[in-house]
């Protein structure tokens, strides 16, 4: 049974329809990626799963429960977490406080999450008392992911973790995601504009074009498709 499934989801902001009849599923323990051009609706899809914006049509089921109409904060207490577009760390809180925000609201014990965060990204321990707004872009991205992991979610929604980061840091972050998936069985729905790296990491992928899913398949399979290569891989990669 899949952990998350979307059936016929349409959503958007105001008069703009960003998603059109999107159906997808993410199985327990899978890394699934969503690739597509800027403005294809990838981030909107992750936000719609969290109920902000609300789906206009269709159904979202998480772990057997219909979460389509739940308020955002209750959806997020079901075992989902998101590291959103633009990172959205709390700039005037310390790194440590940012991490605590990820756990305590839903009543989780922050200790195991903090230990995990520090094991994954040791730099966060060094910066624990520093205001998060003063971190570098890469450090902020690590903080956003670590914060999302604080609630020990079963499903991690990860939006563009590589955006604007140096290749070395991107490798570090992707390595961390792979490790979490292999060692802890964390299920991940990953949105990436860096399609090559995302497809290599993921078990399966979906291609989103103008709010519709046009292709799906295993990561390796999608990488060989000419539509994907032409549009997102720039031909020469790998």
């Amino acid at each position: 049974m899949s952990l998350l499934s979307l059936e016929g989801i349409s959503a958007g902001y105001g008069p703009v329809q960003a998603l059109e009849d999107v159906s997808l599923h993410v199985g327990q323990g899978e890394i699934v990626t969503l690739v597509g051009a800027n403005g294809a609706g990838k981030s909107t899809l992750l936000m719609t799963i969290c109920g902000d914006p609300r789906a206009r049509t269709g159904r979202i089921v998480f772990d057997g429960q219909d979460i389509t109409a739940l308020p955002t904060h209750l959806i997020m207490r079901q075992g989902l977490a998101q590291s959103p577009e633009g990172r959205r760390i709390f700039p005037r809180m310390t790194v440590n406080e940012n991490l605590l925000m990820g756990a305590e609201v839903a009543g989780h014990d922050p200790a195991p999450g903090l230990a995990q965060a520090r094991a994954l990204f040791p730099i966060l321990l060094e910066r624990a008392g520093q205001r998060a707004g003063t971190l570098s872009g890469g450090e902020q991205q690590m903080l956003a992911i670590a914060r999302a992991l604080m609630s020990r979610p079963r499903l991690l929604l990860l939006d563009e973790p590589s955006l604007g980061l140096a290749p070395l840091i991107v490798r570090q972050i992707f390595g961390a995601i792979r490790r979490l998936n292999e060692e802890e069985g964390l299920t991940v729905l990953l949105v990436e504009q860096n399609a090559f790296q995302a497809l290599r990491l993921a078990h399966r992928g979906y291609v989103l074009v103008n709010g519709r899913i046009t292709l799906q398949g295993s990561g390796a399979e999608l990488m060989t498709r000419s539509e994907v290569q032409d549009a997102y891989l720039g031909g020469g990669h790998g």
Partner: protein
């Protein structure tokens, strides 16, 4: 010299009251980005609830226990008023255009004034002094006595205790962190499981409870209240919040103290009739020359 010292004492105790009200303005501004113009009237309601509490206890308990009991009573009831104001006038307008809650705040202010006027009458309500006497610090030359009245000491101590508790709440507890998270990024706070509507309501509730402390201390200090006291006190506390830097909690307290001192010294050395001019002139000058206030932050952050 002795005269100036006495003004300092008076200014600080007045400034503490302004500071308590200013915290409510600045906290609500920080968290929802609106000026709650009904907040001064919530302070007035707090003073009236305190009066009712004192009358209910009259003849029964007295002494410090009575004062504490009435204070807690006033904080509790006034907090409910603060919550009601938010539910009725602001929450339905969330997501509407920016001016809408501002206008309904002014409406709420008028409603509260008229409600208290109808329920309690328009006349001044005097009470007998409850905390009397003073502590002489020293007698200056020419026989001028510098004294701190017990009520001034009570104001300073109560305010310090309440603000210390409030500071711990905001900086050390999960609720305080959630409030700061909603202030910095409401959408993200929701993504972390924070019930943002509840957090906003709690900010109004806490702000109203602090205003009730101010109302209670005002009643004890001046002994006379009417339904209109919220207007002047509210605008001055708002000035204090702007002077300190709107959105900054320590700034609100600092601003309150400065406004209290400026007003007191102005009254003592220039003109007591024009004391309100001093406070409002400051508001204008700060808005022109220092719009971020003393402790307000510049909007520069790394993204």
């Amino acid at each position: 010299m002795a005269y100036a010292l006495q003004q300092l004492v008076n200014g600080i105790s007045l400034g503490m009251i302004y500071g308590l009200i200013a915290v409510g303005y600045t906290m609500v501004y920080g968290i929802v980005g609106m000026i709650n113009f009904a907040h001064g009237d919530v302070f007035m309601v707090g003073a009236f609830v305190s009066l009712v509490g004192l009358l209910l206890l009259a003849g029964g308990i007295d002494g410090p226990a009575a004062i504490l009991l009435v204070l807690v009573f006033a904080m509790g009831i006034t907090a409910m008023y603060g919550l009601a104001v938010e539910r009725i006038a602001y929450k339905p307008l969330r997501g509407s255009f920016r001016l809408a809650p501002l206008i309904s705040a002014i409406g709420m202010s008028i409603v509260l004034q008229n409600y208290v006027q109808l329920a309690q009458g328009a006349r001044e309500k005097p009470i007998d002094a409850i905390v009397t006497g003073s502590l002489t610090i020293f007698t200056g030359d020419a026989g001028f006595v510098v004294a701190v009245s017990w009520i001034q000491i009570l104001i300073v101590i109560t305010t310090l205790i309440v603000l210390a508790g409030f500071t711990v709440l905001v900086t050390r507890t999960p609720l305080g962190r959630a409030m700061r998270a909603v202030e910095q990024d409401r959408k993200m706070a929701g993504l972390l499981g924070v019930d943002t509507n509840r957090t906003i309501s709690l900010a109004f509730l806490i702000g109203a409870a602090l205003a009730a402390v101010a109302g209670f201390l005002f009643l004890l200090r001046y002994g006379v209240i009417n339904f209109f006291i919220g207007f002047t006190a509210g605008v001055k506390a708002f000035t204090a919040a702007v002077l300190g830097g709107i959105g900054s909690l320590p700034g609100a307290v600092l601003g309150g103290l400065l406004i209290g001192l400026i007003e007191t010294f102005w009254s003592a050395y220039f003109s007591i009739q024009y004391k309100d001019v001093a406070a409002f002139a400051i508001l204008i000058l700060v808005l022109i020359f220092l719009p971020t206030g003393l402790l307000g932050r510049q909007e520069v952050e790394k993204v």
